[in-house]
């Protein structure tokens, strides 16, 4: 009898443990099943509203408290009321998308759509081709054609897999108040004019330039891309072509800026976001080569009265391209291959990138609108509009200079030294040759 009781005890203990473990696993699978069931129901249900009964799971790379997160939350609510769809909006943050989305999709977790940084080519067949949806909805006509071309350029088949929004342009963001104080009335469009502006600012007791380590590649990359084009810049960083004369020429241009005292004295130690927050946004330095997103990033420091200006990277006397070539980028939406109602997901994307909600996103996050019919750009970014409108050639990020992550750290270190005046152009070239050869 004792033995039987003992065995019964063993069985009960094992059973209890197994039940606990199974219960832990069960909750996840049941929620996924529920989500799929909802999606399936949506495709068959019919109601007054277009997507009654459809459930979408939307992972966003914003935080709920960011301006973009706040507007997207409101827009999703409006979408639910208007269409009858139920949207499970989850703010995952940049890291959440970067680290968690592909594993989630590979584990068959239901995620119908997501947003995040441009170029989602690494998602492979996990995201849907959107050409048919774009054509059926006549979507393309209202987006800047250059942006659509850029979005297609990431994919080998040249088709569209992501919808751009939250556009940004890169060039020199500057403080109009300081320009006025120095008596500068026109922004520079050539390198000589740029040097004159720097000198005028310096003569007025204003520090012309600053940057941060994270964005140090932008000015140098665009300068080099003006001379040789971004594809050749990529070749330099990927194949160690640092001994090209154009690299030395670019380094000499920045050596000159440093030697004339145009850079902030603390530029060498600016760990992002120190330069943009404590020098540019506080009016200690006048210009910073960066994207238009800096306006949103620093608005808590600058306040509403800061007068922002923008000009494209100056043209060079021996350059092969001009102001029509620039770095433009965006965030983008994509629909996953788990989505059973791509039409509903696309309708939500359309709502967020067109008309009222696109304008609101642009206004609240101080970004460029996706809808070309939204002509009322944030005042702080109005200067970027003519450059964007006339852009016919898009440079890769930092003119292609950040294309090799194995060389970027050495490049960043040597560029900061170059800007701080603690290394010459020749030393820069030597250091980069050494770094690429190991």
């Amino acid at each position: 009898m004792k033995k039987v009781l003992k065995r019964l005890g063993v069985v009960m203990v094992c059973g209890a443990m197994l039940t606990t473990m199974m219960a832990g696993c069960g909750s996840a699978s049941s929620s996924a099943a529920g989500s799929t069931a909802g999606s399936t129901a949506g495709s068959t249900a019919s109601g007054d509203r277009e997507f009654e009964g459809v459930k979408l799971v939307y992972w966003s790379n914003w935080e709920a408290t960011e301006p973009q997160g706040v507007v997207i939350t409101e827009a999703v609510k409006a979408f639910e009321e208007e269409t009858g769809a139920e949207v499970d909006l989850q703010f995952k943050g940049r890291k959440g998308i970067k680290e968690g989305l592909i594993p989630a999709l590979d584990a068959d977790q239901q995620v119908d759509m997501f947003d995040g940084a441009q170029n989602k080519s690494n998602y492979g067949d996990r995201i849907l081709c959107l050409e048919d949806l774009v054509a059926e909805n006549d979507y393309e006509k209202d987006t800047n054609p250059v942006m659509m071309e850029l979005s297609r350029s990431y994919y080998e088949d040249g088709k569209l897999y992501e919808i751009p929004y939250q556009m940004k342009a890169n060039g020199y963001m500057y403080n109009k108040g300081l320009f006025e104080q120095a008596g500068i009335t026109e922004v520079p469009s050539t390198w000589d004019e740029f040097l004159t502006v720097c000198q005028t600012l310096k003569d007025a007791g204003i520090t012309p330039l600053t940057t941060d380590d994270a964005y140090a590649m932008q000015a140098f990359g665009m300068h080099l891309a003006r001379l040789i084009g971004d594809e050749e810049v990529k070749d330099v960083v990927n194949n160690g072509g640092w001994d090209r004369p154009e690299v030395l020429e670019t380094a000499q241009a920045f050596e000159e800026l440093a030697s004339k005292g145009y850079f902030s004295t603390q530029v060498g130690s600016n760990v992002w976001p120190t330069g943009q927050n404590t020098e540019l946004a506080t009016g200690k330095a006048a210009m910073y080569c960066v994207g238009t997103y800096v306006v949103n990033e620093t608005k808590g420091i600058t306040g509403p009265d800061f007068q922002w200006g923008f000009f494209g990277y100056p043209e060079l006397p021996d350059g092969i391209n001009g102001l029509e070539a620039m770095v433009i980028g965006n965030q983008s939406f994509a629909i996953t291959n788990k989505c059973e109602n791509p039409e509903a997901a696309f309708a939500l994307i359309t709502m967020l990138t067109r008309g009222e909600w696109d304008a609101k996103l642009s206004e609240e996050s101080l970004a460029l609108p996706a809808d070309i019919n939204n002509t009322s750009w944030p005042e702080q970014l109005m200067d970027a509009k003519p450059y964007m409108d006339n852009c016919t050639e898009i440079f890769a990020t930092s003119g292609g200079l950040e294309n090799n992550p194995d060389i970027t750290p050495a490049l960043k270190e040597n560029l900061m030294k170059l800007y701080a005046g603690t290394c010459t152009a020749e030393e820069f070239v030597t250091n980069m040759l050494a770094a690429s050869k190991g």
Binding site: V13, D213, P409
Partner: protein
């Protein structure tokens, strides 16, 4: 006591299976993955391409990866000497009957209860900043301009700034372990030594240090585990993209696994990331073996 085998199996079985599934299996899978070309960590095995020791060779030929190990060794050796040395000194001082022992112990341990993110931000913005940071204003007030003008976060000083702030945060943790070790030593030894005329320094080298041998071994292993997982401090000192002076293998692994920022074309390489994981694991095993060989614990009884 009579052993009940079935009861042992019932209680130990699920835990053992759970341990094998969540600990041993990932280690084994990582080891296997390190010999394959794999893009995503979740790629099915059918997508894996056998690469032999290719991942290891290509990593060791990459200057940035080699730099990351050099930085790690510097943190391990120099940081280890600073952290273990200063924490031992503080532990001995605290155990020598100094007034306000409780307060100092809590104050020195305090950085450990503050988030590393907050600590690193404090160091970067309020200590090392070259226009309004503490070091700049302090040295300027003393008219030591050559010290005030040092740019602590530029390429030449960033590693040392990082090391100093990391060690500052770790000292309290190791100090507590030293304190617990010193508390195990009977006061009778010190009393007898004092009667025999031994001074405090002599007592430290002839009694405290030899009897702390086991704790010393534990601390070195704990330090090597902490250092091999060095990530967040490096990330905060070089946000967005890695930096030659602060890059460590974990940062390099993260960028390989999830893709570096701002590259345009995102390249992910889970196979190489697994190889880095294996090398980090080997690092700890090697340190553990060497320490166990060099420092014997079982020849003293007290």
């Amino acid at each position: 006591m009579k052993r009940n085998r079935s009861m042992i199996i019932a209680f130990a079985g699920p835990a053992t299976i759970f341990f094998l599934a969540t600990f041993i299996y990932p280690i084994f899978r990582t080891l296997v993955m390190s010999f394959f070309s794999i893009q995503e960590i979740t790629d099915p095995i059918s997508k894996w391409k056998f690469n032999g020791i290719g991942n290891y060779v290509s990593l060791l030929q990459t200057p940035l990866y080699v730099t990351s190990w050099i930085n790690l060794f510097k943190i391990f050796v120099i940081g280890g000497c600073i952290t273990l040395g200063v924490s031992l000194l503080l532990a001995v001082i605290l155990k020598s009957g100094v007034h306000g022992k409780g307060f100092f112990q809590a104050a020195i341990y305090l950085p450990n209860v503050i988030s590393a993110v907050a600590m690193a931000t404090m160091w970067i913005q309020y200590v090392f900043n070259s226009s309004y940071g503490f070091l700049t204003t302090f040295f300027r007030a003393l008219h030591l301009d050559f010290l005030a003008n040092i740019q602590w976060l530029d390429a030449d000083h960033k590693f040392w700034a990082l090391l100093l702030s990391y060690c500052f945060g770790m000292i309290g943790h190791f100090m507590l372990i030293w304190v617990s070790g010193i508390e195990r030593i009977s006061p009778d030894f010190y009393e007898a030594a004092s009667i025999d005329g031994a001074g405090k320094v002599s007592q430290f080298f002839r009694i405290t240090l030899p009897l702390l041998r086991g704790i010393f071994r534990t601390n070195i292993i704990m330090w090597s585990i902490s250092v091999s997982g060095f990530f967040i401090w490096s990330k905060l000192f070089s946000p967005i993209s890695a930096d030659t002076s602060t890059v460590v293998p974990m940062i390099y692994m993260y960028d390989k696994l999830f893709g570096a920022e701002n590259t345009g074309d995102v390249v992910r390489d889970a196979g190489s990331a697994a190889a880095i994981g294996v090398m980090l694991c080997l690092f700890i095993v090697i340190v553990f073996t060497i320490v166990n060989k060099l420092i014997k614990n079982d020849d003293l009884e007290f």
